[in-house]
């Protein structure tokens, strides 16, 4: 299996990206990784590392897409950047997936333009896998911010793609799909969610109804459907609250004297576990659904472990043949729709 890693554009690039690649290689013997970016910089960093040289390649790219670049311009004017060259190489060649921690918007537009949308897909989603209170269980959010203005038919498509992702990678044969809404009852919602509710209710998905944002992390559903604006608000507000709680705790510990400091030392392992779970991969990371090949967005602040995890996620998606499963699911949905009038 061949994964391309965009080694530039994130906060800790290229070092953490390269270290993450080496960690992933150690864990997965069938992986081959192509490091994309300035070959002299990558080569110099690799010089004193020990690794299986037969499974690492370098694809030289002279430019870097930065977070300040406008996505539409980056796609047109930075074709030789590690991100855009990586995406073009993924599209044209014998590669299975790509991982990048760079500019999210540019990656989405680049993937859409160079790797292309699966037939029939209106728009690709950026879908984070939300951590939950249930050990080892993640919930996918479709959409987490790629599409800020949506029609109800797009929300249904997101649901189908999220469900196909979870059934192929998560082991749930019939993933529970819920609609993010401002109340649990069927009649709740704005114009968009009311229309989407009706579409989801009539679909073949395992639609379990509305979910309120306060229930997002309970791990009771597999797929949460939202327009990218609401999805983004929810995810970032949750992140903000997490950070606020830890910041306040730090403040109180500082002010709280010896007792609080000792308490903190004793509780530190538990607090660290929570902090790691609740922050690391939630925001700024996720998978793009609706693209013809696997593209994984590692969060911008990824360290080596986060890069390794993103590469492993890409590998799992390739193993599970997620893109084909999504194409099939959308195809059967369209077919079903076409059959209805014929039967009437």
């Amino acid at each position: 299996m061949k994964i391309i890693l965009d080694c530039f554009g994130g906060d800790n690039c290229p070092n953490s990206a390269i270290d993450g690649a080496l960690l992933a290689l150690e864990e997965n013997k069938e992986l081959e990784i192509t490091l994309c970016g300035d070959e002299s910089v990558i080569g110099a960093y690799l010089a004193d590392k020990t690794y299986d040289k037969s499974r690492i390649n370098i694809l030289h790219a002279s430019e870097v897409v930065t977070n300040e670049d406008l996505p539409t311009l980056a796609v047109r004017r930075k074709k030789q950047s590690s991100m855009m060259l990586g995406l073009q190489t993924l599209a044209s060649g014998d590669y299975d997936g790509l991982v990048s921690s760079g500019n999210t918007g540019a990656l989405l537009i680049g993937a859409t333009i160079f790797v292309k949308l699966i037939d029939g897909v209106q728009r690709a989603t950026l879908s984070p896998l939300l951590p939950t209170m249930v050990d080892g269980k993640a919930t996918i959010l479709v959409d987490g911010g790629a599409n800020v203005d949506c029609k109800a038919s797009m929300l249904k498509e997101f649901a189908i793609m999220g469900s196909a992702f979870m059934s192929s990678t998560g082991g749930e044969e019939s993933p529970k799909v819920a609609l993010l809404n401002n109340g649990a009852e069927e009649e709740k919602g704005n114009a968009l969610t009311k229309e989407a509710y009706a579409l989801l209710k009539d679909s073949n998905l395992n639609f379990v109804g509305n979910i309120e944002a306060r229930e997002m992390f309970k791990g009771e559903v597999d797929v949460i459907v939202a327009d990218g604006f609401a999805g983004n608000m929810s995810m970032k507000a949750a992140e903000g609250m997490g950070k606020t709680i830890f910041a306040m705790l730090k403040k109180y510990i500082m002010e709280g004297g010896l007792r609080a400091k000792l308490g903190y030392l004793l509780l530190k392992p538990s607090l660290k576990k929570i902090k790691a779970l609740m922050s690391s991969d939630t925001v700024g990371g996720g998978v793009f659904l609706g693209i013809k090949k696997v593209v994984v967005k590692a969060h911008g602040a990824s360290n080596d472990t986060a890069f390794k995890n993103a590469i492993v996620r890409a590998k799992e998606m390739v193993d599970a043949d997620v893109c084909a499963k999504i194409a099939n699911a959308l195809g059967s949905d369209k077919q079903e729709l076409n059959e209805v009038p014929a039967e009437e």
Copy 2:
């Protein structure tokens, strides 16, 4: 000052409501409170309490609006309920404000119909005062869930009302107003927020630009403007994350043996402070802006302290003459708009 307290409809009603009223009376000598609800139940609970009888009245109401009641039906069919009778009494009589912990939608519609909107207001908001990391500082969210489908002109109106609220009660002469959005940069947003951004930028408000949901609790701005759907998502997602963190902490402490348990005991005061600040008044409570008289929604699970706080908030709003300030602010905005063409 005369405040009406709807003593029924919340989780801990009527006992906590009545206890909250007695606490508020003790703290504020100029307060008179009218307890609205079943007079035999209220009378029986008051029987063995010590309080200033000259400042407590009972207004008998035979019915209760429940959380299961559809708001539009509750307004039409439960006119003799503690909530609706309270609102009608507020509108007609010599009263200054009303506090209720009951059905939020019913209270909003009841207030709009019986107490009426301030002239020129399109829709009233339900605005929670969000806790922040800055001691004693709250940020008002306009709107927190009353209006799930908004036009940009409504968002501007929400901003004017929120700003008038904060300048009259918060002491900030020129409150900082920010637009909740999916990025800090001006060009970010969905169709609604892009249009609202332009309106806010051209207004006389102290508009400081976009705010991301992750920054909501930093206390850097005074007013956060959002449509009720996005506002509701953000608030509830934050609540969910807070609950998740505390639930996980509890779990890890249980699993963590003596060390973690001891750590918890030592840190308990700090953790309790954070929990109280981050949960109590945030969700399910707030003030209605745009109504002709002061109406405060205490959250459904209010205990006696929460009821006391809601009554004190209503008193502060009356003292600050918030409703008149909002009417003035909207009036000058309209006048300014009308003057523009004349000047050109």
